[in-house]
């Protein structure tokens, strides 16, 4: 999992300046992890982008009063939608990994049923990936980035 970049904060600085700095860094991290997230062979990519999105969402919630209310609400709504789409994909990745990991511990007679269950989850994973695709399309991400940049600027 990608580590969050350290943001230098001063506890005596205004809350709104801390908001601009933290949200700016966390937003940049989301876009840094956008490459290759639809790759079903490399599940770490979607995980990293999901974690980055979760950190951004947390920062936006912590610093909510520092931003113009309407713009913040719209931006957060879009970040949440992205996080949900990434989460749907990630949940399937985790379930498939866990089920496959348990195969050796099951009774011989249950292994075919487990294989069918894994295949059903793979189908859900493909569907979740298709539904994620528009959220991580370059044009949509550029728009979200602009929106977040403007939000950060408004807090300074």
């Amino acid at each position: 999992m990608a580590r969050a970049r350290k943001v230098e904060l001063d506890c005596e600085e205004p809350f709104s300046l801390a908001a601009a700095r933290v949200v700016g860094v966390r937003a940049a991290e989301v876009f840094e992890h956008a490459e290759g997230v639809l790759d079903l062979e490399d599940t770490e990519r979607v995980h990293d982008m999901r974690v980055a999105t979760r950190r951004l969402r947390a920062a936006m919630e912590v610093f909510e009063p520092c931003f113009p209310r309407k713009r913040h609400r719209k931006a957060l709504k879009r970040v949440k939608a992205l996080a949900d789409a990434l989460g749907e994909r990630r949940d399937r990745d985790v379930t498939i990994g866990a089920l496959e990991g348990m195969a050796g511990e099951l009774r011989e007679g249950d292994r075919d049923a487990l294989a069918a269950l894994v295949e059903a989850r793979r189908e859900e994973q493909r569907k979740a990936n298709e539904e994620l695709a528009p959220f991580v399309a370059p044009k949509r991400l550029r728009k979200l980035r602009r929106r977040l940049d403007e939000l950060v600027e408004a807090a300074r």
């Binding site: 969050a4 943001v7 904060l9 001063d10 506890c11 005596e12 600085e13 205004p14 809350f15 709104s16 801390a18 908001a19 933290v22 979760r54 950190r55 947390a58 920062a59 919630e61 912590v62 909510e64 009063p65 520092c66 949940d91 985790v94 379930t95 866990a98 089920l99 348990m102 511990e105 099951l106 009774r107 249950d110 049923a113 487990l114 269950l117 059903a120 989850r121 807090a155």
Partner: protein, 140 residues
């Protein structure tokens, strides 16, 4: 579970008092949810506690520097809670899909019971160490 709104935040005021208000609210939410989650079958309460631990952890990741070592210890404790409750939740999510696969169901139930025991021990250890009380004091 919706997060409780934090009252009295002032964007023009320093980070520390604002952060203290947020941490205090999130800490209160977490503490209130510990007891109900100690019932082994209370999957929903355990899920709510996981979310509360996650929220406290994230606010401490951002603002913990204002509250010293107590915040570092509390952030780690929240992360541990979140981790183990996440594994319990994974079992709860997988169990319905395992219907009709007897040995998989048995494996998931055994694993969940083991995780719950570890969760219970973790809660007791954190209470003995006074992690949450120390964090609360550091906010003053």
């Amino acid at each position: 579970m919706k997060a409780r709104e934090v009252e009295g935040l002032e964007p023009g005021e320093p980070l520390r008092p604002n952060a203290a208000r947020i941490v205090n609210t999130r800490l209160g939410e977490l503490r209130a949810l510990i007891e109900p989650a100690l019932d082994p079958g209370a999957a929903e309460a355990q899920h709510d506690l996981r979310i509360a631990a996650k929220r406290l952890r994230y606010v401490l990741e951002i603002t913990g520097l204002c509250f010293g070592e107590e915040a570092t210890a509390a952030r780690r404790a929240a992360r541990q809670l979140q981790g183990i409750l996440g594994e319990i939740h994974d079992c709860d999510v997988m169990l319905p899909g395992a219907a009709g696969i007897e040995s998989l169901q048995a494996l998931l139930r055994t694993h969940r019971a083991l995780l719950f025991r570890r969760f219970n021990e973790l809660v007791q250890a954190q209470a003995s160490a006074g992690v949450w009380a120390a964090l609360e004091r550091s906010l003053q």
